[in-house]
Amino acid sequence: MPRATSAEVPHPAMERTLPEPDAIRTPLSSRQRKARSVNKRAAQERLPAAQYAATGALISRPERWSELNDALSDAAGDVQALDDGQRRDIQRVDRAVQAFERANDRGHVVYSNVRMPPVINRSNLEGFVRNSFPTGMVVHFDRFTAGAHTMHEIETDAAPEDRSVVFEMQTRRGAYLGYSDSVDDTSHLLPRGMRLQVAGAHRATYRRPDGTLGSRHVVQLVDLDEPSTTT
């Protein structure tokens, strides 16, 4: 598995920690987005052509995203079990993500959608989440994980059958792939092979850029590869 290569955080204020359960999750500030965009562009500037192409194909083509990630899931994350072409491209993306990590000097809180089993719906979602994600439980990501730094960007439909919740993850890992403050895009690519520990589960409120509020169930996770949590 690719190892963490995150740069040092020069000041505690540049860490991001999980919000309190009753805190309203707000969009990333303009200053934060500008700073992350500067680091992103600096990292892209140094990417070799093959890593740029492999990463670009993975994150811009849903069919490629599914193909490589499904292959990783089928192999339980063992890249050596894949064919040469898939293994080569995955390892190129691994190295690209590490390049972004080296260029980044900030902590992240990343949000990703997760879908519960088909027997779950909105009426029994809360109890299921509480029972299924006890504090201290560890989850593994065998594949690459996509998300954003804000909850409103990953909103799903609010239909009664909606059974998705949000992973709210504190980590130093991955690549910020969002933009500066001119576009509502704070995308983030997390590396494969992550281990995260559940820190809590509750319903959380978030604010959209237009000021309206939304609410979803979140499972808070802390990266076990964080320098401060590694034993």
Binding site: K40, A49, I59, S60, P62, N113, V114, A146, F167, Y179
Partner: protein, 57 residues
């Protein structure tokens, strides 16, 4: 005209359907600290099926 790097390559951008897609994970069953840990238990804990749908979009 968007930003391009010095190699003339456009800025990497994630497809919104991928960003809003569904993450896939598997659970590791916590090992009781008072129970004797065995290789079999550890292996079983790492094989819990993933409940999430493994597709984006």
């Amino acid at each position: 005209m968007g930003w391009t790097d010095s190699h003339g390559r456009p800025e990497l951008r994630m497809h919104p359907d991928i960003k809003r897609g569904v993450a896939s994970y598997r659970r590791e069953t916590p090992v009781e600290q008072t129970a004797p840990a065995t290789a079999d238990q550890a292996a079983a804990g790492s094989k819990v099926p993933r409940p999430a749908t493994p597709t984006a979009g």
